[in-house]
Amino acid sequence: MNREKTFNILCTAVAMLAAILVAFLIIILVSDKPVESILIFLMQPFSSGRYVGNIVETAIPLIFSGLSMAILFQAGLFNLGGEGVFFMAGIVGSIAAIWLKLPIFIFPLVCLAVGAGTGILVMLVPGALRAKFNANEMVTSLMMNNICYGVGCYILNNMMRDTAVSSLVSYKYRSAALLPTIVSGTRVHVGILIALLCAAMVYVFLYKTKWGLQVRATGANAKFAKYSGMNVMKVILLVHVIAGAVAGCGGIVECLGLHKRFEWTALPGYGFDGAMIAMLANNNPLGVIGAAAFVAYLRVGADLVSRFADVPTEMVSILQTLIILLISAEKFLHKYKQRWMEKDIQIKEVQHEGLH
């Protein structure tokens, strides 16, 4: 492993540590029983199978959105459309889960395919506009988020709403469509396996295929990629298709894994979470799994502190902000980075001289 990579990992570790230390600080400032609260925050998530299950179930959508963002970031694209994709894929996938009638095993697969297909279609709007006409994908994807939300709410209110229930939810999914729980005593569902599979597939795509190389080359320097004969337009389209499919899958997996009906009444926030996860993972698909697990751990910890002690769970958003700011700060620990890299060069020089 080269020194730059090691340094990046160190930076990530420092940011994670800083997040936990700030959590301590907040707890000390706010809580009446700080020591007890810190222990709950740190240890309680591991204290029982149910809580570990909570971490896993919280990590599932984060893995999907993190993967989706990691692919886009690797190609140098700032598409924030994950929000809308999650929502819309949830809605359209739910339609399938409510009204189709299929045998068990096949049913959830069909719903996932519907969700992924919806995700691809939604993502392709900013994707195609960017690929063909160079329209700013960030603005168009933000527009798509709001359009998806409006259209989704319309469908929910007018077609899917179960008026027998007072809250705004859809009809119940058919039970054959639900993703089964795989660990008894928890809510951990098959979605985790799908998420891990997706991470592996995205990894293979990005690092072991010709297309993956082109994606990374485009992200590193689009002009260079173009002049060296790569079809940048195709790369951008492909990246959006994959990112849309992964995020769409995430949306419907979340619905069918944890809920019996469609329950989102606002955009779920996973799109922006994905950006943070991808950054924590340095845009590496396998790293996304670890990053999602870490953030899920923070969230479950914060949730437990708010339930068993006296610190509101929103503490987590303060920690997340810190993580994003520190990791994305190129010059964070920059002084040390310089020294660290120079040492490497000196070692090489010494070895080089030794050869002569």
Binding site: V30, F78, L80, V125, L129, K132, F133, N134, A135, N136, M138, V139, T140, L142, M143, M144, N145, N146, I147, Y149, G150, V151, C153, Y154, N157, N158, F272, A275, M276, M279, P312, E314, M315, V316, S317, I318, Q320, T321, I324, L325, S328, A329, E330, K331, F332
Partner: protein
């Protein structure tokens, strides 16, 4: 349908457009200034949310709306400064920095709300202050015009001034020229002695001021309390308005007005049983289409060259 038409030509309806437009005008001016400087501030939503909270809380503590407004402005400028510090000094990507601030605002305000009001939803238990409505002397007596233009919250008038300020800033001041130069080509601007960092920092702080006003209006004018995520995407809508207005003060103001109209129409549509969810998406679709046409035109022009 007739009832619907009567509703949207009424003076109340036109009055409500101005009310709905106020935070959009502020935020879209913030978006224009920062974007023209080449440092697009996407944390408008978060900055306004923090300002709204701060205005409510300090207004309550001091029992003075003026103190609330001042603290709202300070809070938004402070966090705009945090964004500027990280993006300009530590080279954090500005989009990611914006996402971070939005996340901080959304959770952080609920966190603080719980600490000060013991409630995670609204601050109605705290008797906070509101900024006054202003009746304009002569105009208020003119029949229709009076009930449309007069009697708005003081910040609604300030928001119109904010548009004029932004227009003037970018058109005829040295800072405005620097902002445009840095946004156009950073290296070129620096080669003639303009500090890109200072200029972008100034632009981000100014966008913070705009967000401070926008947030203060929400919790001290639009309504008289703070509630969680009370901006409900107005910051993002302002970004859309700015994109639609092609980074100009007047264009963005006009686009904000369009969004305001669409919002007011969708509220009116809801009472008439029309699909308000779909009506609400019209401005976004319009922006998307507008942006597409704009991009296609540039693409064609480049192809011809």
């Amino acid at each position: 349908m007739k009832g619907f038409i009567n509703l949207i030509v009424s003076t109340d309806f036109v009055y409500s457009i101005f009310r709905v437009m106020t935070p959009l005008l502020f935020a879209s001016m913030g978006a224009v200034i920062s974007d023209v400087a080449g440092a697009p501030n996407i944390a408008l939503e978060g900055l306004m949310l923090m300002a709204a909270f701060s205005g409510m809380y300090f207004g309550y503590l001091a029992q003075s709306a003026a103190v609330g407004l001042l603290m709202a402005l300070l809070t938004a400028v402070l966090f705009a400064g945090v964004l500027a510090f990280f993006t300009l000094y530590y080279r954090t990507n500005i989009i990611l920095g914006g996402i971070a601030l939005n996340s901080l605002a959304s959770g952080g305000t609920v966190f603080l709300l719980y600490l000060v009001a013991n409630d995670k939803g609204t601050s109605v238990s705290l008797a906070s202050k509101t900024l006054p409505n202003i009746n304009i002397p002569v105009i208020e007596n003119i029949p229709i015009l009076g009930s449309i233009i007069s009697g708005h919250n003081v910040l609604t008038y300030v928001s119109v001034l904010a548009v004029a300020f932004t227009y003037y800033l970018l058109k005829s001041t040295a800072l405005g020229a620097h902002i445009k130069a840095v946004g156009e080509k950073k290296e070129a601007a620096e080669s003639v002695g303009i500090s890109a960092v200072k200029t972008q920092a100034a632009a981000l702080l100014l966008s913070g001021v705009m967000c401070g006003f926008g947030g203060a209006f929400m919790s001290m004018g639009y309504v008289s309390w703070f509630s969680r995520d009370m901006l409900s995407s107005r910051g993002w809508i302002a970004l859309a308005a700015e994109a639609m207005g092609r980074q100009t003060a007047l264009g963005s103001a006009a686009a904000s007005m369009l969004f305001g109209v669409a919002d007011a129409v969708s509220n009116a549509a809801a009472t008439q049983g029309l699909p308000s969810d779909l009506v609400k998406t019209i401005p976004y679709v319009a922006t998307l289409v507008g942006l597409t046409i704009f991009s296609v035109r540039i693409y064609r022009r480049q192809k011809e060259v």
